[in-house]
Symmetry: D2
Subunit: 334 residues, 4 copies
C-alpha cells in the first residue's frame, strides 16, 4: 500500500499538515557515499517559486536519521524526514462538508469513514512527492551510469516551450489552471532490466508513475502513436550487436525488458483541480449542489514542478529492477 519495491523498497508516510513527512528506503546497498546536501538539487527542482506555482514555501531540509554512518550507507534502511513548517489549517475547514471537485476529498472521506486528515488533502497531498523525490535521488545514485533528461513538453495543449509561460499566465489571470505532459528520457540504462510476465519494466514504472497525484496517462516510446502506425513503420530494426535500433518507437523497452536504447516515457498531468474561479459542486452538509470558491493560492500548473517527481518514480523503478537483475542473472546460482 504505502510501500513499493521488491529489493529497493520505499515506504512513504505523512500528511500535508502533519508534523513530519518522510520515507524509509530499504535495500540501499552498503558503502555508497551520501550526505544531506546531495538531496538539495532535486528538492530545489520540485520547489515552488516560479510564476504559476503555489506561494506556500517550506525549507524542505532533509534529515537523514538512519542508515548512514561516517558518510556512507550501511545497508540498513535509510530514513529521510522533513518537517512541515507551514501548517496553517484554517483554510481547509470546509473540505469535510464541501469536497472539492477532482480532489481526493470525497473519495478519502468515503474510504476512511470520514477519519482521514482532510487538511490540505492530508495523505493525498502533492506534498507527499517530497519524500518520493528524495528516494529518487538515492535511486539515481544507485543507477550511476544512467543519465536522466526530464522536460516539460506540453503545457495546456501548447507544445512550444517559448510559450509555456504565457499559457500559464493566461490561466492564472482567469483564476484557472492548466495541465501538461512531462517526458523523461534515460540514457545508459543497463539492458536486461524488467521481470516478465507481471514485472516488466513498463509495468513497474507505470505503477510508480500513476502513484504521483494528478497523473492520468503514461506511454512508453511512441505510445498511443504506435497504435496508429503499421508494423513496418513502428518496428525498430536492430542495427548492431549491442542491440541499438535504427528507430526507437519502443522507448527502450521490448518484451518488458530494457533493450539498450534510450528509455523514453511520457506522462500526462492533469490541470491542478484547485482553481480560484467558482465551481458548483455537492455540499454534503446541505445535501445540495452549491457554489464553491477554493481559497488560498495554488499551483496554476502543477506540471511545472512534476518533472523531478516523474524522474524520481522512473529512477526508483529502475533501481529496484537493477538490484533484482543482479540476483537473477544467468549463472548466478550455478
Amino acid at each position: 500500500m504505502n510501500s513499493f519495491g521488491r529489493i529497493f523498497r520505499v515506504s512513504i508516510f505523512g500528511e500535508s499538515h502533519g508534523e513530519t513527512i518522510g520515507a524509509v528506503i530499504d535495500g540501499v546497498p552498503a558503502g555508497m557515499a551520501l550526505c544531506e546536501e546531495e538531496f538539495l538539487a532535486d528538492l530545489a527542482r520540485r520547489k515552488s517559486g516560479a510564476r504559476g506555482t503555489t506561494p506556500r514555501r517550506e525549507s524542505d531540509s532533509p534529515q537523514l536519521v538512519s542508515g548512514l554512518f561516517e558518510g556512507r550507507t550501511t545497508g540498513a534502511p535509510l530514513t529521510v524526514l522533513f518537517r512541515n513548517e507551514n501548517r496553517r489549517s484554517g483554510d481547509y475547514a470546509d473540505l469535510r462538508i464541501h469536497p472539492r471537485p477532482s480532489h481526493a476529498d470525497w473519495t478519502a472521506a468515503l474510504k476512511y469513514g470520514g477519519f482521514n486528515d482532510y487538511r490540505g488533502g492530508g495523505h493525498f497531498s502533492g506534498r507527499l512527492t517530497l519524500p518520493l523525490t528524495a528516494a529518487g535521488t538515492v535511486a539515481k545514485k544507485i543507477l550511476s551510469g544512467a543519465e536522466f533528461r526530464t522536460s516539460l513538453v506540453e503545457v495546456g495543449g501548447c507544445c512550444d516551450p517559448q510559450r509555456f509561460a504565457e499559457t500559464v499566465e493566461n490561466a492564472l489571470r482567469d483564476g484557472d489552471s492548466v495541465g501538461g505532459v512531462v517526458e523523461c528520457r534515460v540514457r545508459g540504462v543497463e539492458p536486461g532490466l524488467g521481470e516478465p510476465f507481471f514485472d516488466g519494466a513498463e509495468s513497474v514504472l507505470a505503477h510508480l508513475l500513476f502513484s504521483i497525484p494528478a497523473v492520468k496517462g503514461v506511454e512508453f516510446g511512441a505510445g498511443f502513436a504506435s497504435a496508429r502506425m503499421r508494423g513496418s513503420q513502428n518496428n525498430d530494426p536492430i542495427a548492431d550487436r549491442q542491440g541499438h535500433t535504427a528507430t526507437n518507437h519502443a522507448g527502450g523497452i521490448c518484451g518488458g525488458i530494457t533493450n539498450n536504447n534510450e528509455l523514453t516515457v511520457r506522462v500526462a498531468v492533469k490541470p491542478t483541480p484547485s482553481i480560484s474561479c467558482e465551481q458548483r459542486t455537492w455540499h454534503t452538509g446541505h445535501q445540495a449542489v452549491e457554489p464553491l470558491i477554493v481559497k488560498g493560492r495554488h499551483d496554476a500548473c502543477i506540471a511545472l514542478r512534476a518533472g523531478v517527481v516523474v524522474e524520481a518514480a522512473v529512477a526508483i523503478g529502475l533501481a529496484d529492477l537493477h538490484l533484482l537483475r543482479a540476483s537473477a542473472a544467468p549463472g548466478t546460482g550455478l
Copy 2:
C-alpha cells in the same frame, strides 16, 4: 515476477510451444459456484478466426485441476491448465540468430543468457494471455455487481468501426499489420477501491495492463486529453450524495480511489511486430544487418483479440482491490 496481486494473486506459467500453460489463482473466496464451461465465453472472445487474426487454432479447453470441489471454490488455489496442441516449432529455428525487430527475441536472449525458449516467443508469447483471460473470468465472478463493456475504439488510426475491417484488410494485403486502441468501461464498480500512496487503482490496473504484450500506453478517463485542458474544464463537479459527477474526465478514479462513477481506461496496442514484408535487421550469426522475412501467418491486428485480455487485467486488479478493501474498511479492527 510471474505472479501479481496481494490477496487475489495470479501466477502465470508456460511457453508458446511448451506442453502446458496455465495459471494458479490464489485468494479466491470459498463457496463460489464455478465450472469449466464458464470460461468458454471469454476464451472464445480471445480466439483467432476472424480475418486479420492468426490461423493457428487451438481448442483452448480449460482444465480446473485444483481448488474446486462439488462445483464450488474451496478457498484453496484454483489451478487452470491448457494444453498446447499446435507445437510445430520448425518455423522458429532462426530466431536465435536473427532476432525479429520489436519482438522479445533479442532482449530475452540477453536477459537469460541465451537459455530462453525462443520458439514462438516462448514465455513472451501472446499465448500467455490465455491463462490471464481465464483468471479474468474468475475475477469478474468475484466482482459480481460490475458490468464490463470493452471495445476496440481505434484501428490503425481509424476511429470508425465501420471501416476497421477494411483497414485491417489493407494491411494484410501489404503483408503488414496495424495497431489499435482498446477501451474498457466498467459500471457498478464499488466505490473506495484503491490503496494509496503506491497502490492506487490506476497504479494497480496500469501494472497489469502493461504486462499484456504489445501494450505501450494506458490512460484513465480523459487521460492525455486532460493534460490539454484547463482545470475549469477538466474538473468533475460532484452532483449528488453518491458521488456521481456531472462529467467524468477522471474515469471513475480520484486520488487513486474509485469514486462511484464509470471506470474508463484506454490502452494503446502496437501493431503486431510479425509482418510478412521484408525487414532489414541484425543477424547475430553473421554480425551484420541482413534481410528478414518472418515466416508463417500471424495476427495482422492483435488489437482485434486484445479486448477480453484488457478486460481480464482490469478485472484482476479490481478483484484484488475489492478483497483488500473488505479487510481495510473503517471499523474492521475496532
Copy 3:
C-alpha cells in the same frame, strides 16, 4: 498465502484427492541443467513403504511442463505437476460431520465455510509436501556448494536410532502413532545470507518449516538448550579469519545472518493424528461427543518421511536468501 519467497518463489497447489497437485517455481536462474530424473531421489526419500508408513502408494512421477528447454532452465517459471492416482474418497465421507481430532478438518471447515475439499485433508494433506519436496530439489541445485545431512534424531522420545523401528512397531501394535525430531545440518552455506530486521535466516527458515503439516517446534543450534546456559558457555568464540567458531551453539546463524559455520536446525514433528484406536470427539451432526475410529491405514510415524521435506524447506529458504544476497551485496549499485 500459497506462495513464498522473494526471488526464488514457490507456489503450491492441489488437494489430496484432486486430479493434479504441483508447484510453480519462479526465479530459477536460467541455464541450469535439469531433468525429471533428478527429482526421483528426493521423491523416493519421501515415499511410503517402510514399516510404519502408509500403504497408500503413488508413482509420484514429476512432469516438468514449463520453464525447461533443451535440458536447461530458461528463466521462466518452472512448473512441476504430479497426478493423483489413488483417489478413492469413500473413506472420508464422515469427516465433514465428525472431524478428526488434531487434523485440520474442523478449522478448514470453519475457515472456508464448509466449502473446503475435506477428502483426505484436501489442501491440508501431507500430500502437498510432494511438490514442496520437488521445489527443494531445485533449490539444492541452486545451492550447489551446500551439503545437506538430514536425519531423524528422535522417535517417540527415544534417541537411539537402533531402537526407532521397535518404537514404531510398538505404536503400530497399539493402533497408535509416535512423533519425532528431525535434524537438518548444512555444510558449505555461503556466509552473509539473511536480511534483518524481519528476514533473518532463522525467520525465513522457520516460516517455511512451520508450513509443513505436523511441525510444532523449530530450534536453531542449541535452541531451547541455549536458554538454560550461561553466556560464557553458550557464546561461540571466533577462531579464525573465516569466522569459524570454536563451538557452534548458534547453529551457523548469528544476528540472523549465516556465519560460515554449519547450519543446524531441529524440527519437532507431532505424532500422526490418524490413529486406529478409538477416540471420543465432537460429532457436528449429532451435536454430541461420540466415539470415532479413523478408518484406513496411515503413517504410524510421519517423522519417518519428514526428513526430505524438512530439507526441502531449508533449501528453499536458503536459495531465496542466496539470490537476494547476490542483489544486495555491497558495491552492487556503486
Copy 4:
C-alpha cells in the same frame, strides 16, 4: 527485509546509536482512538531498571508524527519515532577489529562490507525492539477481544519464579549472563486465522518471533514435547460445537489455523552474549585469537525484558492475519 506483514505492515528503522529509531505502521484501520500515552505501559515493561538489566536509561517517549488526526487513526501510515538520547559511542571503538562472540559484529561486517554502523550493534541492537513493541501496542488495539498473558517461565534452566532473581544475581556476580524461556498465551483469539499453505499462523508468528534478537527456538502448544508423545496422548479431542478441545497440545492452532482455543507459544532466549568475564576470540587486526573484555554494563538476562517484545511479535502477526481474514472470509466476493 525491514518490513513485514501483508496488510498490517510494520517497517522498522534505526540504529542503537543513531539519531532516531522508529516504525512506520501501514494498514491500520481508520477511526481507532489512539494517543501517545497508550504506548507507555508496554514501553515501561520493556525498560531496563530491574536488577540484571542494563543501566542504560532512555526516556523512550514515543512521538506519533503521521497517521493520527483529532485523536483517531486516519487509515494512512502511522509513524512512531523515538530519539536516542544515550549515544556515547566511545565504548564500541574496538568492535570493528575485535568482534564480540555471538553478537552480529562479525556477520554484519561481512554482509555489509564493513560499512555497517557497528556502534552498540547498530541496526542489530536489541534497541530495535523498541519500535517493534510500539507496533505491538497498536496491534493489540486492533485485536480488541484478545487477552495476552506473557510470562517468563524459565531463567537459566530454573523453572521456579521464586528463584529467578537469585539465578540472575549469581550470574551477575560471576560477570556472566543467563538465558530464559518466555511463554505467551492469548485468550479470545478469533478462530479461522492463518492462511495455509505457507502463511499458517505458526509460520507467520515464528517468522516474527525469530526476528527478535537472541531468540533461538519457538514451539507452539506442547511443541518439542509433542514429538515425544503418542498420538493418543497428543491428540486434542473436540469437546463442543465451538471447537473447544479437551486438551490443548496444539496450542490453539490446527492445520495452521486458529481453532478457538488458547494460543500458546514458548520462545527460547539465549543468554546475553555481552559478558564481563574474559573471552578469547579472533582479532581481525592482529589476525590472531586474543582476549576480549566487553566493556560497559549490560543485561545479565535479556529474557527479563523480552516478554513484551514476544507479545508484540505475536500481536503483530495476529493483527495481520485478522485483517487478511476479514478479506478472505467465505462469501466476501459473492
